[in-house]
Symmetry: C2
């Protein structure tokens, strides 16, 4: 399956050829064995009219699966192209959570048309899920799960699963509720199959289970699914009534989105929700300029510090040439620490209460790194700059100033880098924002202050 | 379940209290309702002797689950503390892929003891999986899956699942093989349950399926599981014989590790495999120093450029104070572009063949960002630096030099930032290494060259 890009390019060409020659039967045979996600990818590579054609060629069920995998722009085009009966057919095939995802991306006119043609049950479900906030667990759950009663036998339960199963998102786990729809237990299909026909559900169900609430953060829920290796998590309301489930495939999507968001924030980009090549120039510009602007303006302080020490710099001009190295190394050291801490925070490995332990660790790492870098730099300055490049202004004293500054800068950078994300988290901000660019700007200013301080002490400027 | 940290701290205290007062029955009742991952976390928080105690209190099955969730250091301690019969019991309860994960982390002496006490079947399975390279799909698969024959009826299949199911990692998907063990189809438990008892497997199985090979990269396999929303993927050897399956929980772990590795590489850290607080100072130092050293030495070029233009700087000293702002903004612009491209590459949204499209997009974004930043900076320099701070050396000409440089720097930075990761990928290197620190170092030197070029043109230095 993981053949070279060539295979995919060939496939696109063949499909284009078949479309242009109107060989629809052959096209259908070519597409049928493919996975829905791959057909959606193909539609994306083809021209605008292709999706509706592909869509009409495929059997209803596969067509609906492909529809779910398409980009929202293409979904909108398709819906606008659908006849009313086609729209109704697709909606009938969709799982509820997929239908909600689609509705969320559509303009109001299209939403109205969708809701008009959905059956009353689906319409109710969509409206139910739509009322939960964007990042909440409620917004990613589905209400199509198998529910059982405690008093049923295994035979009853299997019969119920056989009857209602085709419409459920998963039958791998069933949920046992009482008369008030409160969740009291759960049951995997494995337990059901391995039990005797006349065992009673209440006796074999698992009563120790983990449930999440509709308003829990969707990332926390997804992390829990991953941590406990579950295939689904039940979602309850504040009165412990079962309202839905979150399945592992949706959790994986959430985790992937959240990681992308974190990485974007760490690179001073405002997070977006579209793939890179689908985001327009203007949108990309809007996501990138605010942080650039803020960081540019805050770099002014570094400039002011430099101006302030202008006379010292004039007296010993060679000092200037080591500024980029010092601020670069400081920035990189800080980035290493902040990145390590931010990632550990988001994986739940580190908490604010670990602050002292983190600082103590980074202090020791910083000293080791700093001394090591300083030693290398000292040798380099005397051997290469002074001796090989014959620059007499690189005296041992200057080398001493640069190397002492290097150690102090690395230590400061690592301490700032490891503590700011923890503080941000404690104060309720997103730690990812305290990453590389922000730390770099602070460390730039710090390293200059240290540099001129050390220089004035050693060289008496 | 997502209560505040306090709840967990209270739990640790209660467990410590019960252990010290030897109230083992109460301790057992306290632990039983918890998830294995949470008990493992508790063991980690308690002192060294606690795990073996907790382990002996729990029922065999739960104890084995907890064992799997422990850190390898604790697993080693436990194995060393186990009697031979305890070791055998645990090994019997483990799924094969978990047993392999454990064996991979243990020193040779412990491995020998494990293999001695595993039953022959398990021992064979462990040795089988151990022979696959570290990052391959074979190394994360399990060989415990349900296999069926084409000629079986649904009733036969269900009987087989009931009989062999308890030892299988998952029964949600069964795999149909021919007499040479070649994979010819698969079947979800849903299909089985919804079929008639006397349907023949060959008629209802899915013949269009995706299989991966033992030597495929584990990240590619995990991404495929996520992309196609599968619960498991079959793994075949070069002759298409079914040798194992990869389940979604293992895929999630792989994806999480790979993301952490990417993030670490992007922050110039050599990737490690232990959680932040579990990594020793020396190990952290070893992971961080190489890149710092390399980047420090390459920053020398920037220093050489500065020295080269020393006389120009002397003639117009105010220019120096804008160097940090220019190199900072350049670095941040480059980081934004490289990060966006690296993430898209790892999500499979962008390929090398998109190079021109990416460059064209970044060029336009860079011009928008650059012009916007330059305009803001021009106003700021004249209003604040010249007028408010009364610095007469900030002339409109100087502002022009700085702002023109800013635009050129942003454009260069974005172009370098977006193209280097794509080139790295094409050449078979890891694109994540082409991230922030590396780009910053290149852009630093570039921005200085542009700066002095523009300055000498406009100011005639």
């Amino acid at each position: 399956m993981f053949e070279s890009e060539n295979k995919w390019e060939e496939l696109v060409e063949r499909v284009e050829d078949l479309v242009s020659r109107k060989r629809y039967a052959e096209l259908r045979d070519l597409l049928l064995p493919l996975e829905a996600a791959d057909i959606a990818w193909l539609c994306d590579e083809l021209d605008e009219r292709a999706p509706i054609l592909v869509f009409r060629l495929l059997p209803k069920e596969l067509a609906a699966e492909v529809f779910v995998e398409l980009d929202s722009d293409e979904q909108e085009l398709l819906i606008r192209g659908f006849s009313n009966s086609e729209l109704k057919e697709v909606l009938d095939e969709l799982y509820l959570d997929d239908a909600v995802d689609i509705v969320e991306e559509m303009p109001a006119g299209v939403v109205k048309r969708i809701l008009q043609h959905a059956d009353p049950e689906t319409r109710k479900g969509i409206n139910e899920i739509l009322k939960y906030p964007d990042d909440s667990t409620g917004s990613i759950m589905t209400t199509e799960f198998v529910d059982l009663k405690e008093t049923m036998t295994v035979a009853d339960a299997l019969k119920r699963i056989r009857r209602t199963g085709p419409d459920k998102e998963t039958i791998n786990v069933s949920y046992v509720i009482d008369d008030e729809r409160r969740l009291i237990g759960l049951l995997t299909i494995r337990t059901l199959l391995l039990a005797e026909e006349d065992d009673v559900i209440g006796d074999i169900m698992e009563r120790n289970f983990i449930a999440v609430q509709t308003l829990d953060d969707q990332e926390t829920t997804a992390r829990a699914l991953s941590k406990y290796d579950f295939l689904a998590l039940p979602v309850v309301d504040t009165e412990n009534r079962l309202v839905g489930i979150v399945t592992v495939d949706d959790a994986m999507d959430v985790l992937q989105e959240e990681v992308t968001e974190d990485i974007e924030k760490m690179a001073a980009i405002l997070p977006g929700d579209k793939p890179y090549l689908k985001t327009g120039v203007f949108e990309t510009w809007k996501a990138r300029t605010p942080w650039l602007m803020l960081l540019m303006l805050s770099a002014t302080f570094t400039g002011i510090i430099l101006t302030h020490f202008e006379t010292s710099l004039m007296a010993c001009a060679i000092l200037t040439s080591f500024v980029p190295m010092l601020s670069g190394t400081g920035g990189n050291s800080g980035t290493q620490a902040s990145t390590a801490v931010i990632r550990s925070l988001s994986l739940g490995e580190v908490r604010f209460s670990d602050l002292l332990q983190v600082v103590w660790k980074e202090l020791r790492v910083a000293l080791c790194c700093g001394i090591c870098l300083a030693a290398a730099n000292f040798v380099k300055m005397l051997l290469i700059d002074r001796w090989l490049l014959r620059n007499p202004t690189v005296t041992p004293q200057v080398a001493l100033v640069v190397c002492a500054t290097l150690i102090c800068t690395v230590v400061c950078a690592k301490l700032v880098g490891c503590s700011l994300p923890l503080l941000a988290k404690k104060l309720g901000f997103d730690p990812a924002v305290m990453a590389s660019p922000f730390i770099t700007t602070i460390v730039d200013a710090l390293s200059l202050l240290i540099y001129f301080q050390v220089a004035s002490m050693v060289l008496g400027l």
